[in-house]
């Protein structure tokens, strides 16, 4: 008999894991090496097709597209990652507190969540941009704001179930403080659900960041970003259509990888949920 590993491998987990590893590796590699200096302007090399200059051609400034894409991977994660972590931290605090105290506090927390959820992230970014000026900081804040109610709902749901368990009732009965129960018993039990949600929200954050930087509300030029590359590409659509392809594929593969990884992790951590993957 062969020994079963504790995490069951599935296709989504493997493909998602590989794509995500590639994304992170590319982002890290861009910090130490890119084929060309991504910001170097070479007027003589403008709008070259793929393989004519570099693997993926050059843009309207003669910059190497592959190098821009690599640094774009880093910039995308540099916004998505802190935004999701910030949203997850605040959301989890609200969700677990709501589950611990229930009653009116819970009611208020959930109503506020509903309200915040009504704001699309792009709209939040416009509002925050009007307040403090648009840029990477506003983008992170807007995506984080959008994530707070998501994590508040998910953690509240799971935490409420855990609070009904007998051993928690016993801990309550002997006078253990709700905060300590939350920290010592509830949080470790919702860690799995949290990791899955973080992965899926990262995918959404990368998508949102791309949209924001397409509008010019994210990373500032000349620092490259996938969204801005697409907005530049639109200007030169008839002369250099190849510019509109690569950044989109980079976004789609990154998002696909993280989504698959999230689904795969959920199935691996909790086989009873298999096939229910509805993450709206």
């Amino acid at each position: 008999m062969t020994k079963r590993s504790s995490i069951r491998l599935n296709a989504a987990l493997v493909i998602g894991g590989i794509l995500t590893a590639l994304l992170i590796a590319t982002a890290l590699l861009s910090l130490v090496w890119t084929p060309e200096v991504p910001t170097r302007v070479r007027v003589a090399m403008r709008l070259k097709a793929p393989l004519e200059a570099g693997l993926l051609g050059t843009d309207h400034f003669g910059r190497d597209v592959l190098s821009l894409l690599m640094v774009g991977a880093w910039n995308s994660l540099a916004i998505a990652w802190p935004a999701v972590l910030l949203g997850a931290a605040i959301g989890t605090a609200i969700g677990t507190a709501a589950a611990a105290w229930k009653g009116i506090a819970d009611e208020i927390a959930m109503r506020v969540s509903d309200v915040v959820f009504a704001f699309p992230a792009v709209l939040s970014a416009i509002m925050i941009g009007a307040l403090v000026g648009s840029g990477p900081f506003s983008a992170i804040l807007a995506i984080a704001v959008f994530n707070v109610p998501v994590f508040a709902r998910v953690t509240r749901g799971v935490a409420l179930q855990i609070w009904t368990l007998d051993y928690i009732a016993a801990a309550r009965a002997i006078g253990k403080h709700p905060l300590r129960i939350t920290w010592e018993d509830v949080l470790p039990n919702i860690a799995g659900a949290l990791i899955v949600q973080v992965t899926i929200q990262l995918a959404l954050a990368i998508l949102t960041e791309a949209g924001l930087s397409y509008l010019g509300l994210g990373v500032r030029p000349p620092n490259p970003s996938w969204g801005r590359m697409l907005s530049d590409a639109q200007t030169y659509l008839s002369q250099a259509p190849h510019l509109a392809i690569a950044p989109g594929i980079a976004i789609a593969l990154s998002v696909l990888g993280l989504n698959l990884l999230g689904d795969g992790l959920r199935d691996a951590l909790d086989p009873t949920l298999k096939g229910r993957g509805a993450s709206a």
């Binding site: 509903d114 309200v115 699309p120 509002m127 509008l215 659509l237 976004i251 696909l256 229910r276």
Partner: protein, 315 residues
Amino acid sequence: MLRLVISRLASLAITLLFVSLAIFLILEVLPGDPAAIMLGTAAREDTLAALRQELGLDQPALLRYLDWIGGILHGDLGLSITYKMPVSTLVAERMSVTLPLSLLAILISTALALPLGIAAAARRDGPVDRAVLVFSQMGVAVPNFWIGLLFILFFSTRLGWFPAGGFPGWGAGLWPAFQALLLPSVALALPQAAVLTRVTRSATLEVIGADFVRTARAKGVDKRATLRRHVVPNALIPVTTILGLQLSFFFGGAILVENVFNLPGLGRLAYQALNQRDLVVIKDIVLIFSGLVIVVNFLVDIGYTILDPRLRSRT
């Protein structure tokens, strides 16, 4: 029943009150001096003072808030500083693009998602199910503005079938206007259709596993009829909820897609207003978008409380 509607209405009113307060705080109180934001750091003191007076900033904040809300209730959204015209005129004009765009996108998304999701669930793990899962994974991953860009590249630049952007206005006739909105609405719809397909599939699977479905099959109702009469109507409840929640994604997406296709809609207006630092316009648009999302979700909620008697006791 009436009491239920009244209590829901009260909570709707409170929610809207809080949303408008939050927007007002963020855009009018937190900046300290909105006039300075709108005119930039290089503004002269006397122009600043003039704008402050025009915006009524010499009044206390509470009075300004009441003034804003009171105006909205009368259909008066204030005066845009950059456009020098009433925001209500501006919004009405832009709404005639964004509303049809969003409705068309929702229509396309639902028309794709329902049959795909139900077909996939009807034969779980079959070839259709696998194809639908691949479509939904891909669809969720592709940004709507990139789809728009590819559409322009292919259908406009290459084939010349559609305009590459812009909007002729409804005055130019129904067909040209529809033509200008078709590609943007498909681009807006596809990613949301992918999400909705997954939801439809899992909701349908859930109902298929229920006891009453087994009973229907056991008493001899054939598979198709069971699906049509018993499964789908029940599966539509969670699907409608998600569709309501998706509205905010449709509006958020409209901001992007309108920019890709250069459509003079409300989303593009919000974006332009940000660049022009026109806080009056931003404030109104944010309230309109979020207000619409909240009201529609309220209607969805009330709608199936009326349709589904089981939900009535759970208040």
